[in-house]
Symmetry: none
């Protein structure tokens, strides 16, 4: 019974989360009403507030939970790859794969979550920083191993790589193309490795 209850709870929580992603991605955060989400999740309006403090916190939860699974997913896999370049490429692929496999979630990430300076500063800044540090590490490894230029500013490069991934993702979301997003990984990789010359 405990288990059943627990499952039931998780189930509801998850249903709400998923309904929110769907709603936010199709109607936008501000146009989405709690009622819409509740109805789609087949719970009462009030139930949403048993699991999430507010609409804003619901968006934050989508970010945090997706981010968590996002970060966990690749870690082991990435560490298994010895070669730095390959490791970096894998990182890019995983990023794009993760985003590319759920267009609705991607829309929320690439568009709806940018809706206010407040949200970006308070909610996502720390997580983003951690994520960037993961990339930075690989850059440093590359510098150490002589694969990458020693004079690279690894933090700047990490941000740059993120920028390229982010742009690709946003572009994919807005363009509504069916192309697989992760295919962009090699192009980006090539560009950042060789530059324009």
């Amino acid at each position: 019974m405990d288990t059943a209850e627990c499952v039931d709870l998780n189930n509801k929580r998850e249903r709400i989360l998923n309904a929110a992603i769907k709603a936010f991605s199709s109607q936008g955060f501000y146009r989405t009403r709690i009622t819409d989400i509740a109805r789609a999740a087949k719970v009462a309006d009030g139930t949403v507030y048993l699991y999430f403090e507010s609409k804003e916190q619901l968006l934050a939860a989508i970010f945090n939970e997706s981010m968590k699974s996002f970060m966990d997913m690749g870690r082991k896999e990435v560490l298994e790859v010895e070669d730095v370049e390959e490791r970096l490429l894998l990182l890019l692929k995983l990023h794009l794969e993760n985003i590319g496999k759920d267009r609705e979630l991607a829309t929320v990430f690439q568009v709806e979550m940018r809706h206010s300076a407040h949200f970006m500063k308070e909610t996502s800044r720390a997580e983003l920083r951690e994520y960037l540090m993961g990339i930075q590490q690989v850059i440093e490894q590359g510098k150490d191993s002589g694969k990458f230029r020693a004079d690279l500013d690894s933090w700047f490069v990490a941000k740059s790589i993120f920028a390229l991934l982010d742009e690709a993702a946003t572009n994919w979301v807005l363009s509504e193309t069916d192309d697989a997003l992760e295919d962009e990984a090699t192009r980006i990789m090539d560009f950042i490795l060789r530059g324009m010359k």
Copy 2:
């Protein structure tokens, strides 16, 4: 007297526009009330609607008018520079300079304008495309002159460059640093030219 009147009219429109930029950047688009803008612009609420159809259109106007002066500004200057690399660098500098000279406008551009997929698709997409085509041209010139690799996908590169500029700008806006944004231009230039190797 004619002139004065005309100036006064423009003045009101401009005052509203500026008040909106200030308000949107500090409180966010959705938290800003028309009353806030009107009060700051020292006009009546209804006056806002003499110049702009709706709050949403006011945001669009900020985009369009800033974009226009943004695009006009550099064009001649850029064309005067012969060397492609220098021309590209100037482009980057102008972009960052333009954004970096008005933090409030920058905040609106980098954050508030991204608030909805709808806005990004409908309002800014065409202009952005045109802007990217400007960058693309320079890339092509570089390829033609042999300065840049012949196998570069100039459209992809243009988007990548924009991504880097955009990331730098957003970062600058959110970090609240006093550093001049345009100083990033050389770093970005170096990165895209030489790559990581």
Copy 3:
């Protein structure tokens, strides 16, 4: 408890309906604010919208629900009367009695509901038609039985009778007299039966 709850719900709806009738009749439809109605019904503004889609729909609801009880009320009673003239007289009396027993509702019916061609065409036309057909039937019965002239256009007569009732009702509403409205029934009856000659 179930019952109490159910009653309470009905109660709220009814309270709003009654408050609306009072408000519309004393201030007119357009001058009445939802807040006025809500306050009088002792509910929150928003509650009005749980029961009615809009202010306009609230007026329509007053019409529909009053019309329903209005139509139901007399039907049996009327059918029990054999004599056509008496039946017609009863019809007139019921009409005027119904309207005459609630001056506020009457005001809404006779004045506020005529506020727009749109309302009259869309909302009340069908119901009115049905009502007129009820009168028409009696006329036909009178013709069949030889009590009324065979050359009467029963539809025209029905409309004429309605016109006289309607005029009496409006007159009563506007004159603010205390006379019982239904007393007009016999005068009208005499007039339509005998004519002026």
Copy 4:
């Protein structure tokens, strides 16, 4: 110059009046904005207020001026007819003719002017009374001459006749038929003279 100016004034006043009739009849009184009327009359918004105190007064003016020409029109003609029945018939015909010749004005009269108890009580009551007295006179003449029953309540009959005319008019306005409204006169006449028996 006096004349020209005067004509010009009248012209503007009339243009506004006509524009108002058109607008009120098609959009309803409350949905019509002064701006709509001004634009249609090709004058500035403010000009409307040089000729009419308020939107409400503009409606009242339509009533009064139409009523005046309405009342004047038939008087002589009516008095020339000796026979009471014919005189009454002419009255009915003139009423319906007057209304039937301008559907837009008719709509304003039959629908828009009924929009509030206030308007009906304050603005139109006195004029209506005078109009009814005109009818009443004819009834009295009929009674005196023995053409009509001596026991008729002439005031009641006058109101009844008006009711039938009014109903016919409203019906015509709402039904959007092309039939000539004045053709109803004889039917009504027959009905009120002979009654139903």
